[in-house]
Symmetry: C2
Subunit: 400 residues, 2 copies
């Protein structure tokens, strides 16, 4: 058995915690034959390094920033290896480059191209626990690169894929994926299993356990993920492909408080108008989430969409510029997006209507609705955020 | 013109000082066409990293320690490059490995095998200021190594040699090499030039400007060294080959307070006795400095030598074990070594006798004497240390 374990910033937050990780790894070594451990920088370290760089420039050179930032994970990797060796285990730390993680040269946000796992395999074959600095790789020109936010998770998944690992365990400070945020609904339950697809939709659940980029890669490489806590022995949540799971109707309720809504009223209902609107927004790097367009009448139509709150002003201005003064542009940042997620809803009818009815019973007006095969998203006034989550959590019997 | 500049830990001790170094480098860029900057870790950083490693083990795994320690210099290199780039200069940082510094795999104390300067030359040819992380290289197996104490100086000298640099400037927090320690003799003068040989003998002068390992390498590679301060614009001290210099009679007075003396009385005067004594000490890694043996009589002789103070007990015990109880073993740690250094004394007589006479006039008893072509070393009671230095400094007119 080969397992890749990834320990995040809080799990390696200080010297004692790194030692705690060493003990966990040693315990796992007794269960699994081969272990590759991917580590993040100690929590706070990356921000500290960025702050140092910002002393010289608000926008430090990205190639050099990667040289700087990569030190954080190298340090943790070396310290964990030192701890393991001091406890009598054969271990070695490798930088991302030494571990063969080749990326594009998009410094600070590089994409993984390939992994040459020769070195890792060699060290494993010598019985060593291999500790790899996460978040980093190297470009074809030899320079160090980093993978951007959530990069260590991504490293772990990529190594698990390249090594054909039996399991990729992502250790954080939470127990796994919950049916909804336990701070909003104390009855929220930890899920034992979710599919990749559900996980992608649930990304905003609870403590943002995993970024979508890593889940997408795991799905692509068919890596079986487990997300669990490094602070206890709870079993965590398995994230795997749909076929391997008994399908729950609804897996969880997600809440996104970072959305704002724009509605364009009485825009000309002609071919290409939507394209021109969303091309304009894309050019400004504004990330559009939900898009709702109703059938129009009188030659005009209404179009609604959501954007991140901090892009609302930009987006409104861009629309005013594009559409002129005839169009009514309404914007509202006082809204939230509540989503019901579950692979089971594909084959069940009535899932959506149950949501609408339950919210109506609580007097919650649904401003926008968007559905996909495994998700129903609804925009409601932000004052109803928690009530909507709890109502939906109950209606789909996630409390039990 | 190609210059290699090395900035030590105090010179890059904090973010402001790194920026100060950037400004110095930019100023130099106007004088020299090509600049390679070798940097140390920020002062205190290396010790902090070692402390972290010691949390897990008193003797952390050396391969892993090198992985850890190498981060210190990488950080400085990246920050300096960021600063240079933010000021509008084209710069790039390279790790020791990226810069092509190949070493043995003696982790924490690796020896330089070779430098492949292809990458540095490529970057220089593109007009870049090349910033190299000092103190580190890589072994043939690809692992990161470090060069031990004074390793950044050594890196700088090695790169200067490999690149056939016109000059290698070593920046520290002192102005250069002095005729003696200014804390002992305020009239001590900064030397404009010294030879490699003198520098080797003067290593203990003043603030230990340069370690012998670096001077020896500079001599071997014929690298012209300049040691100067990064905190002012004083011209520093040039260290070069003897032939290029007007020979001063005496260049300086060195004081070594770290010696202890052992005298073996009435040892059997037979062939091989000295060999057995010093082989015994060498096997215990005890570094013997001065050795004095007088002609014996009655079939016995006296033999004196000095060792570092912290080895005195070890050395005495080893001697007792080797020689049995018949031999009288005297040990004294209450002594210092005062040395007169100068290439000029090769061709002048009377240099030694002037020293002996001057010390005698001050009532200072000389316990041991050892001479080489360019040095006279004398062991005196430690209470006379400063008086001896000042007396000799005056007798050779170094005050002027």
């Amino acid at each position: 058995m080969l397992v890749v374990q990834k320990y995040g910033g809080t799990s390696v937050g200080n010297l004692e915690r790194i030692e705690n990780v060493a003990n966990r790894v040693i315990k796992s070594k007794k269960t699994y034959k081969d272990i590759v451990v991917v580590v993040s920088a100690m929590s706070g370290r990356t921000n500290q390094l960025i702050e140092n760089a910002n002393f010289y420039s608000e926008f430090p050179n990205k190639k050099e920033l990667d040289m700087l930032l990569s030190c954080g994970e190298r340090e943790t990797a070396a310290l964990l290896a030192i701890s393991l060796i001091s406890k009598g285990y054969n271990a070695i730390s490798l930088s991302g480059k030494e571990a063969g993680l080749l990326t594009t040269d998009d410094y600070t946000n590089a994409k993984i191209i390939d992994i040459d796992s020769t070195r890792i395999k060699k060290e494993l074959s010598e019985g060593k626990i291999v500790v790899v600095a996460g978040f980093q790789g190297y470009a074809a020109n030899g320079n160090t690169t980093t993978l951007g936010r959530g990069g260590s998770d991504l490293s772990a998944v990529a190594f698990a894929g390249a090594l054909n690992a039996d399991l990729c365990e992502i250790y954080t400070d939470v127990d796994g994926v919950y049916t909804t945020d336990p701070r909003i609904e104390p009855k929220a339950k930890k899920l034992d299993k979710v599919s990749y697809e559900e996980m992608l939709e649930l990304a905003s659940l609870g403590a943002k356990v995993l970024q979508n980029r890593s889940v997408e890669l795991a799905k692509k490489l068919n890596v079986k993920l487990v997300t669990r806590s490094s602070f206890n022995d709870n079993s965590g949540t398995i994230i795997t492909s749909e076929e391997k799971m008994e399908q729950a109707l609804v897996s969880g309720i997600a809440l996104d408080k970072n959305q704002a809504r724009i509605v364009l009223r009485r825009i000309e209902d002609k071919p290409g108008i939507a394209a021109s609107i969303f091309t304009t927004l894309a050019k400004k790097d504004i990330n559009v989430d939900m898009i709702i367009q109703n059938v129009g009448h009188d030659g005009t139509t209404n179009l609604g969409f959501t954007v991140p709150q901090n892009e609302l002003k930009n987006a409104s201005e861009a629309m005013r510029e594009l559409l002129g003064s005839d169009v009514v542009i309404e914007s509202d940042s006082d809204i939230v997006k509540v989503s019901v997620v579950g692979v089971g809803m594909k084959t069940h009818s009535g899932v959506a209507s149950a949501a609408f009815e339950a919210l109506a019973n609580e007097g919650i007006n649904i401003q926008m609705i968007s559905t996909s095969e495994i998700k129903i998203s609804m925009i409601v006034s932000s004052k109803y955020a928690e009530l909507a989550v709890r109502t939906l959590h109950k209606v789909y019997k996630l409390d039990n």
